[in-house]
């Protein structure tokens, strides 16, 4: 176990705001572990406790076997951390940023170039450009390079893909997979549910409490009900009408369709279809689907 949290609680404003509530989790060596939850769920607080930046109110945590309070110096030597906000020097060039962090971590770019080569090669053509003038995706690649330059054993990435375009996000996850092959344990947090599928295991977190920890596949297979996707020509009226259907247990808008479950897990798609036709809906389409992590999250939140 590379990272262990036991009954960690963290409050702000003298105990009034509960950021993290009795959270326990363990991350195995070489695992790509995702902390999935909306803004304000407590992801950043957990990251800061693990990176020795914050002290928890109660509970214990270890990274690589070192206690986050007592042995914080040892931990700081071994981990890589990329905070949620872009945290490099905007007025230094790409290369200056990287070589500065390399020196701070007692190493050189050359020494660990093979580890960051994949990532850094993409921004190397712009190495004399100031970091503040890079695009979002390039900033994130630079930040990742800086967090990796000293070959950390555990990598903490706090919302690395927030504010990054879809293509760069995809590239970023591919980079993480390649890093995993190098044996680096990676803890990543994200508010995007679709990214959960790319992790080995995930923890769903809401209001400072963990809803579930498992592999994404297991979490989906534990979804308790049959799930249906409903589509018609008038989507917004459709939502109200489905909710009006007496046997509807839940109905949420999901992109271009509505996801529906029926009470007592009944298979009522034909009845719903008839019901919607009486409401004058055109081109109604209902099909059973496999739930996504977001469906599971909404179900667990209840």
């Amino acid at each position: 176990m590379d990272v262990i949290l036991q009954n960690i609680t963290k409050t702000y404003n003298k105990g009034e705001t509960h950021a993290v509530n009795d959270v326990s989790l363990a991350v195995e060596k070489g695992e790509l572990f995702g902390l999935i939850g909306p803004d304000g769920a407590g992801k950043t607080s957990i990251f800061r406790i693990l990176t020795t930046l914050l002290l928890a109110d109660s509970g214990t945590a270890t990274v690589n076997g070192f206690d986050v309070v007592k042995d914080y110096r040892a931990i700081r030597n071994q981990i890589g951390y990329m905070p949620g906000k872009f945290s490099l020097y905007q007025d230094l060039t790409v290369e200056e940023n990287l070589s500065f962090f390399a020196t701070v971590f007692n190493t050189t770019i050359e020494e660990n170039y093979d580890l960051i080569k994949d990532i850094y090669a993409q921004i190397e053509p712009f190495k004399t450009r100031r970091a503040g003038k890079l695009s979002g995706g390039m900033k994130q690649k630079l930040a990742l390079s800086c967090a990796l330059i000293h070959r950390p054993t555990v990598l903490f990435l706090d919302e690395p893909t927030t504010g990054v375009d879809a293509v760069s996000r995809k590239e970023f996850w591919e980079m993480l997979k390649r890093l995993k092959v190098q044996g680096i344990t990676i803890l990543v947090s994200t508010p995007y549910m679709d990214e959960a599928m790319l992790c080995d295991r995930i923890a769903l977190i809401q209001n400072g409490s963990i809803l579930s920890i498992n592999t994404p596949e297991k979490i989906i297979s534990q979804f308790p009900q049959k799930l249906y996707s409903v589509h018609s020509a008038q989507m917004s009226r459709l939502l109200t009408d489905i909710r009006y259907f007496p046997e509807t247990a839940s109905c949420f808008s999901f992109g271009d369709a509505h996801h529906v479950t029926f009470s007592e897990n009944k298979k009522l798609q034909n009845e719903l279809l008839t019901f919607l036709k009486t409401k004058n809906h055109q081109d109604v389409e209902i099909k059973e689907i496999t739930p996504t992590i977001e469906d599971c999250f909404i179900d667990l939140m209840k």
């Binding site: 020795t52 981990i79 945290s87 490099l88 020097y89 230094l92 007692n106």
Partner: protein, 368 residues
């Protein structure tokens, strides 16, 4: 060590790439030297003066009585040689000495003409000028009284001598003041703001999670501003020597050494502020209110401390600029050596140590 050098180099990049701030840093001392060129008038109350009454006769006693009843002076009667007069001036407690020659009354009544010598410490030209004016007025007043009574053209000549700054140059007064102001401003404001900026930008978060000793983060921040301050100091001194014709009478080396001490005092204060605040605007307000105002108001540079209410006089003792101002005046204008300013130097050293220890104790190795 390699880490430390890399860090200091990074700080220099920050400083030199922020062109606007850089321009401000070097433009400010020049602008201030020009601005403060307009001297200010001061009123003097209850100034301690020394009277050397070699005559001790009716006329001299009468004039001394008159000096005594005025609200401007508190009189001490001591007989002293010229050498001793110089010494009391160096101590800085006495600003004016009135000397009555022997046979003062005799000269006045028989020759109808006598002399009084007024010796003033003019390193602060306003005070020196005002004091001699007050004293001369009182003496003239006595002279007209005598004439009115007896209708004889008695004449008392006042021989005024300004020492340290015979030409009453205002620059002698404000150059040390501007030096104190500029050094404090750059060191306190810039260090505190630049450290807090790392906190605000989130880079501090990354730096904390590194093997680098956190206290070194802060010390390496101070280094560029230490050198910038020394460059500014040189600019001010060059301006004052070549533009304002104000020579440096004492040792330039000592002046730089004492200035380096003040810069370190200011840097420690800047560190303390940055360790206690988390936003650039708060740091700036504290630095300005906490440093600029006391430096301008309480260092003795604009308003003589002797005139202030006792409470403010006591508070002025904790303003580093007050001691630095005394030191610079002693070195630049009076040409004194270290033996004359060791006490003030010791006070500054004490303040620096106190601030350094406090800011290191307050330094956080975590975010909150």
């Amino acid at each position: 060590m390699k880490q430390f050098i890399a860090f200091v180099r990074k700080e220099f990049y920050h400083v030199f790439r922020d062109r606007k701030t850089l321009l401000l840093l070097f433009g400010m001392p020049i602008a201030e030297i020009v601005l403060f060129g307009f001297a200010l008038t001061n009123e003097i109350k209850n100034t301690r003066i020394v009277v050397c009454d070699y005559a001790n006769d009716a006329a001299s006693r009468r004039i001394i009585d008159k000096l005594e009843v005025s609200a401007n002076f508190e009189i001490e009667r001591i007989l002293m040689s010229h050498q001793q007069i110089e010494e009391v001036f160096r101590e800085g407690k006495i600003k004016l000495v009135v000397v009555f020659p022997a046979n003062f009354n005799n000269d006045l009544t028989h020759l109808n003409k006598a002399q009084i010598q007024l010796i003033a410490d003019a390193s602060d030209p306003n005070t020196g000028g005002t004091l001699t004016n007050y004293a001369s007025n009182i003496i003239m007043n006595y002279q007209s009284e005598l004439q009115g009574l007896q209708n004889i053209p008695y004449q008392i000549e006042t021989d005024i001598r300004m020492i340290y700054n015979p030409e009453l140059k205002g620059a002698t007064n404000f150059v040390p003041g501007v030096m104190a102001l500029v050094l404090l401003l750059i060191s306190v404001l810039m260090t505190s703001v630049s450290i807090v900026r790392e906190k605000e930008n989130g880079t501090m978060e990354v730096l904390l999670v590194s093997p680098f000793k956190t206290i070194l983060v802060v010390i390496s921040k101070a280094i560029p501003y230490f050198f910038l301050s020394l460059i500014n100091l040189s600019v001010i001194l060059l301006l004052s020597v070549y533009l304002l014709d104000l020579p440096i009478k004492g040792s330039v080396l000592l002046l730089f050494a004492e200035s380096a001490l003040l810069i370190i005092t200011a840097l420690s204060l800047g560190l303390l502020i940055s360790n206690s605040t988390s936003s650039q605007s708060t740091a700036m307000i504290i630095a300005l209110l906490g440093m600029m105002l006391p430096t301008i108001l309480l260092s003795g540079f604009m308003f003589p401390i002797e005139n202030m209410p006792v409470a403010l006089q006591v508070i002025s003792n904790i303003v580093p600029a007050k001691w630095y101002y005394i030191i610079v005046k002693s070195i630049m204008i009076k040409g004194l050596g270290f033996s004359a300013i060791w006490k003030e130097t010791l006070i500054l050293v004490g303040m620096t140590l106190f601030l350094l220890v406090l800011s290191i104790k307050k330094f956080k190795v975590r975010l909150a």
